[in-house]
């Protein structure tokens, strides 16, 4: 309960600068990436005309997103963005869904420690406010001590850094695509809309109020894009933690896990991806 609003921070000193980062988020991001690499490798190892189970799941996601991309961006540009958009969707979906896995290592450690105590091992058990809330500390040299030090599995998207990082990638893709399709002058003129971009309007662009509003709206897009993912996943996580605390961890709130983990996770992954597609389509 005390952990709400706080994040684990680790600092390193590199060339005289102190860099601080969140180790939990990094572990979880690498875990998600590892799972995606393994599953994709398994799915594409033996490709068949008649797809096996795992291949058909990937084909469903691929064809669904490809159809949307081709219908919004056209055949040539749509096909170019399929790898980026598919990766984004699969990464966010798995990141949101991984949070429903309970803390298996900690649970295993508690079971082993209790059995060890039953046979006379050196385990300190402190009963906190209820019998289900135990504080268990194994002896210093025991072999299962590493289980207590494993990080709990949380969603990497629960931290703002992940959402902001992905949104900044999309920001750069959107604007490089805009410069590529419209040219630098066309890209610049698009900021003067809806006023005309000819004659003295072009030379006195700094008097155009829409110029500043368009620039602000680009940054507001990125801000809301990242905070939308963060707010939904973080909010769901906090609600689950507090309800579990109120139930004294006797029961797991399965309905809340299903709603916030599976349903809201899938919806937010889809919404993040589709907003990325529509921001790209605006630059066409």
């Amino acid at each position: 309960m005390e952990s709400i609003g706080k994040v684990a921070v680790q600092t390193i000193t590199f060339l005289g600068h102190t860099i601080s980062f969140n180790p939990e988020m990094l572990y979880m991001t690498w875990l998600v990436m590892g799972i995606i690499i393994i599953i994709s490798f398994a799915a594409t190892r033996r490709l068949g005309v008649v797809p096996n189970k795992i291949q058909s799941i990937f084909e469903i996601i691929f064809s669904f997103l490809e159809e949307i991309l081709v219908s919004t961006l056209g055949k040539k540009d749509g096909a170019r963005f399929v790898p980026l958009i598919c990766t984004l969707f699969v990464f966010i979906l798995l990141s949101n869904w991984i949070g429903i896995i309970p803390n298996l290592f900690g649970f295993l450690g508690v079971i082993i420690a209790l059995v060890h105590k039953l046979f006379g091992g050196e385990v300190t058990v402190v009963v906190q406010d209820s019998i289900t809330n135990l504080m268990i500390t194994p002896a210093a040299g025991s072999w299962y001590r590493f289980l207590f030090k494993m990080p709990a599995i949380t969603e990497p998207t629960k931290y703002l850094s992940t959402g902001l990082g992905l949104a900044i990638i999309i920001f750069m893709v959107v604007h490089s695509f805009g410069i590529r399709t419209k040219g630098i002058s066309g890209y610049f003129k698009s900021y003067l809309e809806p006023l005309p971009s000819e004659g003295f309007w072009l030379y006195l662009f700094f008097l155009n109020p829409f110029f500043y509003m368009n620039i602000i709206s680009q940054f507001a897009n990125t801000l809301s894009h990242s905070f939308r993912l963060f707010g939904n996943i973080f909010g769901g996580g906090i609600i689950i933690v507090i309800v579990s605390e109120l139930l004294r961890y006797i029961m797991i709130p399965v309905g809340l896990f299903a709603f916030f983990g599976l349903f809201a996770g899938a919806i937010q992954a889809f919404v993040f991806t589709m907003l990325a597609v529509s921001y790209i389509a605006q630059q066409k």
Partner: protein, 235 residues
């Protein structure tokens, strides 16, 4: 009694009293549309009543969130100083006003689903699914308010008059900020559901567009949440 406990009791009443407004209006809206449709199509009354009850149950979610916060505020052991009391009032404002929009908004697609079943009773399943998705996404505004309210309840604030003002400001920001997006999300979902009721073949396209439209409608609520978090943790 301590000041903090007095504030907590007052905030419990504030949360539940304000939290009951939106959901009640939304549920009434679903029932109104169900009755109107039934008067034209008495044959499909069974299906309409079923969808009405499901829709009303989901519409009540916002009020249940307010109830949960209200119960926490009433029954928790309060320890804290003068400033801690104001976090409870801010939490009550946040969840109380925050449920108004979503409660009413979640009612709108429910009404549209009842109308659609009156037109083509065989579409009941498609309409129910889309109604549930629309309603669930309409609750996002309330979920943001609930998050901020729970953070405020658990917060251990610094003392000082500035902190009191920033905490009350955070509650007001997310509370009032959630009213508009909740109703707006409901309007999007209602019109998507009406269109699906006419032609269910377009469901894929309409549901996709509905989700994106709702996500963009929520943008102002996200700004409110950013301001609230800054007020709570930074200032």
């Amino acid at each position: 009694m301590e000041f903090a406990k007095l504030c907590s009791i007052f905030a419990a009443g504030l949360a539940m009293g304000l939290g009951a407004i939106g959901s009640a209006v939304g549920e009434g809206f679903i029932a109104m549309k169900a009755v109107q449709t039934m008067s034209r199509q008495p044959g499909s009354a069974g299906k309409i009543v079923r969808v009405m009850l499901i829709g009303q149950a989901v519409t009540e979610t916002a009020a249940i969130f307010a109830l949960v916060v209200s119960l926490i505020l009433m029954f928790q052991d309060v320890t804290g100083d003068f400033v801690k009391g104001f976090t409870f009032i801010a939490a009550g404002i946040a969840i109380g006003f925050g449920t108004i929009g979503s409660g009413f908004g979640a009612g709108l697609p429910g009404g549209a689903a009842c109308e659609g079943i009156g037109k083509q009773p065989e579409n009941a399943d498609v309409l129910t699914i889309n109604m549930l998705i629309g309603q669930a996404v309409s609750q996002t505004a309330t979920i943001f308010s609930l998050t901020i309210a729970l953070i405020l309840i658990m917060l251990e604030p610094r003392s000082g008059i500035v902190k009191i003002c920033s905490i009350l400001g955070a509650g007001c920001a997310i509370g009032f900020g959630a009213i508009g997006p909740g109703i707006g999300d409901g309007i999007v979902a209602r019109n998507a559901n009406l269109a699906i009721g006419k032609d269910p073949a377009n469901m894929g396209l309409l549901t996709r567009t509905m989700l994106i439209g709702q996500a963009v409608t929520e943008t102002t609520d996200i700004y409110s949440m950013v301001v609230s978090l800054i007020l709570i943790f930074v200032i």
